[in-house]
Amino acid sequence: MSHRRRWFGNVAAVGVAVMLVLFVAGVVHWMRNSTTAYLHHVQAPLMVTQQGVSNFLLSQSTLPPPALSAVGNVSGVASVVPIVTISGVIGNGATKVPVLVIGHPAGQAGPWQIHSGTDAVTGGEVVVDRGLATTLGLHVGSAVTLLGRPLRVTGLSDGTNAAGIFLCFVTSATAQAITGSDVASYGLVHLDAQASVAAVGAAIDGIPGIHALTPGALASSDGRMVNASFLQPTEIFLIVCYVIGLIIASIVLYTSTVEHARDFAVIKALGARTRFVYISALFEAAILTICGFVVGWLLANGLSMGFNHFRPVILAQMPAILVLETFVILGLVNLLATIPPVVHLRRVDPQEVFKA
């Protein structure tokens, strides 16, 4: 095989390792962010929950109408928007998928990014996450059953796959009809222009059975919960990917150096100092790493776009900071991987040049 082909082969091998690491790192990033995405889009300075509840996902909070009225009467509160959440099952014939249903007043606290259809949900209608739609083969106009209640899909939303927990949006009335009660789960609290978040929060905390906290605090609590639970296996998988990346980089860099051992022997025989030989080897490793990283980044983006387009049930977000962070870590990993080849070069005998 020609030198050029071998080099491209090496770049491709490093690229595949980088793709693996970047994609999984992107999935971890997405999982971390997507679980709190709803809370980051509610646009309210405060939320209220049942006393003792400090999570949004996988939690059960109950706020009866008098409790919300009491919150509404607190000085500085402009309005309270009731949100109903239900952990349920949505089905399309034989296939059923667990979902988090969010019941919200029309135009408030609903889906923030519509992929197709409309978010103007009325009774008997539902907006489902696009990943869920792909899983169930749904499209705008499809009929589904949510906890035994027939609904029609009016829109597909984006960004509402909370690390595999699909969000569905219905009106508050539909949600309350499903639960069979008029209670809400959470309340979004909007304040008067001059009101202080801290002061109003403290005043709400004074109401028995009710707790006020910012959406950010609720999101942090959810983030910690997700980190401590189902994000851990993914992070372990990410570490495994880094180890695989290290192994691939080590093999590629070592074989690449061994292939060029005679060239290094020539350079040594001509009179290059050992330091120059090491620098040359490191330079080659750096070029291979950079080119492999660019290829891997392109492949990871392609893979991410492929998932996003064809199967948006698992997504990878690769912001610049994550790419940079991964590049630095992989650079260090590859630096580690250059130790065996450099040790090999140290032993290369310049007399090799006299061998036919």
């Binding site: 350079i267 100092r273 006299f354």
Partner: protein, 227 residues
């Protein structure tokens, strides 16, 4: 003063019963502008001797002097001295496949710290001298064996070394090309007043020599006895 002198050079590999002496008490002196052919069969110790003279191998006994100075393989200055004073031509050319012909020739200058542009300019002059000025952008794989050896000669001479050590420079070439390469090597080294040692098993190269040294079993041999 001789350019390169080897006095009592001995190299023994191993020890005790398994010890093998590749070069034994060998004396050699090379003068500027002189072409010396070291002739010997395979296994006679020629490659070990050239490694000792090039400062690539430490002798078990004896000394190498380069321009009057002791030249030791374990001296930290050895690579620099080799780079400045010794040029190499090899049997298998040893051109770097990833570098163009021009950059291969410029390599010793670049290793010596010269900047890319002037190094390439000098390299181009030497490529012209060996008749390959039109192949500078090619890579070694694009060249014939004879052309690769010409590039190797240009690389050996580009740094204006005091001595050129050529190890079996015609062994990988056909007779006619081998003769051309020998003529070119001897002509250029004489022209530049450089000492040239050609190590070979091919007795036809004897004609090119100002002085012929026979080697057998690691020692200087009687020309008649060594055949």
């Amino acid at each position: 003063m001789s350019t390169l002198v080897g006095e009592g050079l001995t190299k023994t590999y191993g020890s005790g019963h398994t010890a093998v002496t590749a070069v034994a008490d060998f004396d050699i002196a090379l003068e500027a502008g002189e072409v010396v052919v070291l002739l010997g069969p395979s296994g006679s110790g020629k490659t070990t001797l050239i490694s000792l003279l090039a400062g690539l191998l430490r002798p078990t006994a004896g000394t190498v002097r380069l321009n009057g100075e002791v030249f030791r393989a374990d001296d930290p200055r050895a690579p620099t001295l080799r780079l400045r004073h010794v040029g190499f031509a090899f049997q298998t050319f040893n051109l770097l496949p990833t570098l163009s012909v021009l950059d291969n020739v410029a390599l010793p200058l670049r290793l010596g710290g010269e900047r890319r542009k002037p190094a390439r300019r000098t390299a181009a002059q030497w490529l012209d001298a060996v008749g390959l000025d039109n192949r500078s952008t090619n890579y070694p794989r694009h060249l014939s064996g004879g052309e690769q050896q010409r590039v190797s000669l240009a690389r050996a001479l580009v740094g204006q070394p005091d001595i050129v050590l050529a190890d079996e420079p015609t062994a990988s070439l056909d007779t006619r090309t081998g003769a051309e390469i020998t003529d070119l090597l001897t002509e250029l080294t004489r022209q530049n007043h450089q000492a040239c040692l050609i190590v070979t098993h091919d007795s036809r190269l004897a004609d090119a020599a100002d002085r012929l040294i026979h080697m057998n079993d690691g020692r200087q041999a009687d020309p008649v006895a060594s055949g």
